[in-house]
C-alpha cells in the first residue's frame, strides 16, 4: 500500500462530504448543536450567558456538508453509540399459542463514513473489536464496523484531562480508522492506511493533490507537539500498572478508591471503550415484543446482583475497583490492549471529582516507585474503616 500523502483544502473536504451525501452515503461527523436554535433555547441557561458558547459538539449524521465542525474539541459522547447503540433490537418475537415466530434483525449495513473522528474515539473501536470477536462474534458490531470508513482528524489535545499517549494511543493515531487528516494552512494533509481508506482516496482523487514536502513536514511538527502536550499530562508504564493491579486486589489504594464516587455511571456512558450491555425483553402488546440490548454500567449495584440476592460487588469501592481493574489489568492481560484511550471524558463528566489522571498516576507510582507511593496516594483521605 502506498503511504502517499495528499493535500485537501477545507472547501474540498466539505465538497467531499457533500459528494458522499449526494450518493446517499451516511456521513457521521462532529456537529455543533446549537442549543439556542432548538426548543431547548428557552430553557437553556447557556443561551442567556453572553460570551459563552451556546453549542455542544456531538457526532451526528450530517444533513448538509456545511454542518461539519472541524474546529472544536471533543464531542460529549464518543463514537461508541454508532457501533453499539444505547439501545438496539436483537430480535422481535410473536407468540400464538405454542408457536413462536422470531424475526431476526439485519446484520448488514449500508456503507457509511465517519469524518473528522477523534483519534481516541477510533482507537477505542479497535480495542473493543477484541472482545466483540473473542468467544462470540458480535454480528451487529462487526457489521457496522465493516460498513464504516473512518477518517480521523489529528487532535491538538483538548485539556488537562487528556492522556491518550499514556495508554498507547496518540492525538494523531490512525488506530481503528482508515485515514488521517492533519490540519495545515488552508486545509489538511490526508493519508490513508487501510483498504477502505485507499478506496475512499481513490474515489475522491479529483479533490486531492499531492502534498508538498513542506506541508507534510509542518504537519509532522504539529503532530509531534500535540503528542508532547498529551504526554505532559500523564506518563505511566501501562505494563507495570497492569501487573501491579493484578497482584494488589486488596491494596487500600485499589480497595478504597471510590470514596467520593456517587456510583452514577456517567463515566461508563461517556467512555468510548465501556461496552457492557444488558439484554431485556420488552413486550409490545399481547404476544409480541422486542429483545433489546442497552448500555449497562458496572458502577450500578444491579450490574452484579445475583438472583439469590447476593451481590459480589456490594459497595461502591469494589465497583470502582472493577472499573479500574477491567480497563487497566483484566483486559490487557486477556487481549493485550488497555481498555482506555485516554480521552478523559470520565474525568470531565465527574462532578464529584473522581479523577482518572490522578488515580493512574498513583497506581503507577505504587507500581514503579513504591517508596513514594504513601505520599502520593489519592486514597490518603480515604483511610481504612475505623471501628466506631
Amino acid at each position: 500500500m502506498s503511504d502517499e500523502r495528499f493535500f485537501i483544502s477545507e472547501s474540498d473536504l466539505r465538497a467531499l462530504a457533500a459528494d458522499l451525501l449526494a450518493t446517499g452515503t451516511e456521513v457521521i461527523a462532529p456537529v455543533a448543536v446549537d442549543a439556542c436554535a432548538s426548543p431547548a433555547a428557552m430553557a437553556s441557561s447557556a443561551c442567556m450567558r453572553p460570551g459563552l458558547e451556546p453549542e455542544d459538539l456531538e457526532y451526528r449524521a450530517l444533513t448538509d456538508a456545511a454542518e461539519l465542525d472541524l474546529a472544536r474539541g471533543l464531542p460529549i459522547l464518543s463514537l461508541k453509540g454508532y457501533f453499539l447503540p444505547e439501545h438496539e433490537a436483537l430480535c422481535r418475537w410473536k407468540q400464538k399459542g405454542i408457536a413462536i415466530e422470531i424475526e431476526a434483525v439485519p446484520t448488514e449495513f449500508a456503507p457509511r463514513v465517519v469524518l473528522a473522528a477523534k483519534p481516541c474515539d477510533s482507537a477505542a473501536l479497535a480495542v473493543v473489536d477484541e472482545v466483540m470477536n473473542w468467544d462470540y462474534k458480535d454480528e451487529l458490531w462487526n457489521g457496522r464496523r465493516a460498513a464504516t470508513t473512518i477518517i480521523n482528524l489529528a487532535c491538538p489535545v483538548i485539556d488537562e484531562s487528556c492522556f491518550c499517549t499514556a495508554v498507547g494511543a496518540a492525538p494523531d493515531a490512525i488506530k481503528g480508522a482508515d485515514a488521517l487528516l492533519t490540519p495545515v494552512k488552508d486545509g489538511y494533509v490526508l493519508e490513508a492506511t487501510t483498504e477502505k481508506g485507499h478506496a475512499l482516496v481513490e474515489a475522491h482523487k479529483a479533490r486531492l493533490s499531492p502534498a508538498a514536502d513542506a506541508l507534510t513536514a509542518g504537519a509532522d511538527v504539529d503532530r509531534a507537539a500535540a503528542r508532547a502536550r498529551a504526554a505532559a499530562n500523564l506518563e505511566i508504564d501501562a505494563g507495570s500498572v497492569r501487573d501491579w493491579i493484578s497482584t494488589h486486589f486488596e491494596d487500600p489504594l485499589l480497595a478504597q478508591l471510590a470514596i467520593r464516587c456517587n456510583g452514577c455511571g456517567a463515566c461508563s456512558s461517556v467512555c468510548p471503550t465501556c461496552h457492557c450491555f444488558d439484554i431485556v425483553d420488552e413486550e409490545e402488546g399481547v404476544g409480541r415484543g422486542t429483545r433489546r440490548r442497552c448500555w449497562d454500567s458496572c458502577q450500578a449495584s444491579s450490574f452484579t446482583l445475583h438472583a439469590s440476592g447476593h451481590n459480589p460487588r456490594d459497595d461502591q469501592h469494589s465497583r470502582y475497583r472493577q472499573r479500574i481493574n477491567h480497563k487497566f489489568s483484566i483486559y490487557p492481560l486477556k487481549f493485550g490492549e488497555v481498555l482506555c484511550t485516554g480521552c478523559g471524558r470520565c474525568t470531565r463528566v465527574c462532578h464529584a471529582g473522581q479523577d482518572l489522571v490522578e488515580i493512574l498516576q498513583a497506581i503507577d507510582i505504587a507500581a514503579r516507585r513504591p517508596d513514594e507511593a504513601e505520599a502520593a496516594a489519592p486514597a490518603a483521605d480515604a483511610p481504612s474503616p475505623v471501628a466506631p
Binding site: S38, P39, A40, M42, A43, S45, M48, R49, D56, I76, E86, H87, E160, A232, N233, L234, E235, A258, I259, R260, N262, G263, C264, G265, A266, S268, S269, V270, D278, V280, E282, C294, W295, S297, S302, D314, D315, Q316, H317, T347, V349, H351, A352, G353, D355, V357, E358, Q361, A362, I365, A375, A376, A377, P378, A380, D381, P383, P385, V386, P388
Partner: protein, 319 residues
C-alpha cells in the same frame, strides 16, 4: 503541567488546600472546628470541600492534621448531604460524620430526618454562611459571582442563617446576584409556549437521556434501597433509553421527589447529557406550594405533604 500528574494536591500532608481556596476567617474557623471534632473523637470523618487538580471537590478528612485541606468558596457547589444517604454504605463505614453544609444543603438533612433515614445524633453539621455558588465548580480558583456565572438556584435563597446546624462559621455574606434569567422565568417562558412546543421541548430533552441514573445516584433524597426503575418483576419502567422508557423514567423520578426535592440542582449538574431537570423539579415545587401551601425548609418537624393527609386536601383529581 507537572502538577496535573503528581497527585500532590490530594496527598494532603496538611497542605493549605492548594492554590485556589482563599483562607478567610470563616475557612480558618471551619478548619479549627473540624480539627477539634476529630481530635475529640466526636466524629470520625469530616466531609467538606477541598481544592483539587480540576477545582473544588468533596474531601473526606479523618486525620485532624489534615483539617487544613478544607476550603469554602463559591466553587463549593456540591450538596454533600448525598454522602449521608443510607445507600452510601462505603461512606457510613467510616464512622460518625461531621458534614459541612450550606443553607440549601441543610434542607436535605432535614428531609432525611423527616423521613426517618437519619437520626439527628448521627451527624454533626457545620454550617457555612454562603453568598451563593457558581454554576460550575471546575476552575482553579473562585471568581466573583455575576448574573452570568451564579447558580440560578441561589436567587432568593431563603436559608442564609441555617438553624439546624451545630456550628455556623463565616461572616454574613452579601446576597447572591440575580441570574440573567431565573429558574422561575425560564419556567414561565416555557409555559407561554403552546402545548405542542412544550411537548417537543421535553421530548427532545428526554431523548438525550442515556439512563445512567446519575440524577438518582447523586440525589440526597433518592433513598430507596431498590429503585422502581431497577425492578424487573414486573418491570414498571422500561430500561431501554428509547422515548417510552426515558419519558417513563424521568416523570417517575420527578413525581417521587414532589414535595421532597430541596432544589439543590445536583441532578441537573451531574446529568452527562444536560437535561434541564431543575425546571421539572422547580415546577413541582411550585405546584406543591400552590396546592398544599408547603415550601421545603430546614425544619425537620415540618410535616411534608407526602407524609400527611388532611380532610380538606383538594382531591378533585380522584374520580
Amino acid at each position: 503541567m507537572s502538577e496535573t500528574a503528581t497527585g500532590a494536591k490530594t496527598s494532603g500532608g496538611g497542605g493549605g488546600g492548594g492554590g485556589g481556596g482563599e483562607i478567610t476567617p470563616g475557612v480558618k474557623e471551619l478548619r479549627e472546628i473540624a480539627r477539634e471534632l476529630l481530635e475529640a473523637g466526636d466524629v470520625r470523618v469530616i466531609i467538606g470541600w477541598e481544592d483539587a487538580r480540576r477545582g473544588a471537590r468533596p474531601v473526606f478528612v479523618t486525620d485532624p492534621a489534615e483539617a487544613d485541606k478544607l476550603i469554602f468558596d463559591a466553587r463549593c457547589v456540591h450538596n454533600l448531604v448525598t454522602y449521608l444517604n443510607p445507600r452510601r454504605d462505603h461512606v457510613a463505614e467510616l464512622g460518625k460524620i461531621g458534614l459541612v453544609v450550606k443553607g440549601c444543603d441543610v434542607k436535605a438533612v432535614a428531609g432525611l430526618l423527616r423521613e426517618a433515614q437519619l437520626g439527628r445524633e448521627d451527624v454533626v453539621l457545620i454550617g457555612v454562611r454562603c453568598g451563593g455558588v457558581l454554576e460550575e465548580n471546575e476552575m482553579p480558583a473562585a471568581v466573583t459571582l455575576t448574573p452570568d456565572n451564579v447558580a440560578p438556584r441561589c436567587y432568593g435563597c431563603d436559608n442564609r442563617e441555617p438553624a439546624l446546624v451545630d456550628h455556623l462559621v463565616g461572616e454574613p455574606q452579601p446576597e447572591p446576584p440575580r441570574p440573567a434569567q431565573t429558574i422561575d422565568e425560564r419556567i414561565a417562558a416555557l409555559e407561554d409556549k403552546p402545548l405542542e412546543e412544550r411537548w417537543a421541548f421535553w421530548t427532545e430533552q428526554f431523548s438525550k437521556c442515556v439512563r445512567c441514573y446519575a440524577c438518582r445516584q447523586v440525589c440526597p433524597l433518592c433513598v430507596c434501597e431498590r429503585c422502581v426503575a431497577d425492578k424487573t418483576r414486573p418491570q414498571w419502567i422500561e430500561s431501554s433509553p428509547h422515548a417510552r422508557g426515558n419519558l417513563s423514567w424521568n416523570i417517575t423520578r420527578a413525581l417521587h421527589l414532589a414535595g421532597r426535592c430541596v432544589g439543590c440542582g445536583e441532578c441537573e449538574r451531574f446529568c452527562p447529557v444536560g437535561i434541564p431537570l431543575s425546571l421539572v423539579n422547580r415546577k413541582l415545587q411550585q405546584i406543591v406550594a400552590e396546592r398544599y401551601d408547603y415550601t421545603v425548609s430546614d425544619d425537620p418537624e415540618q410535616v411534608a405533604p407526602i407524609g400527611d393527609y388532611r380532610l380538606d386536601d383538594e382531591q378533585e383529581f380522584i374520580k
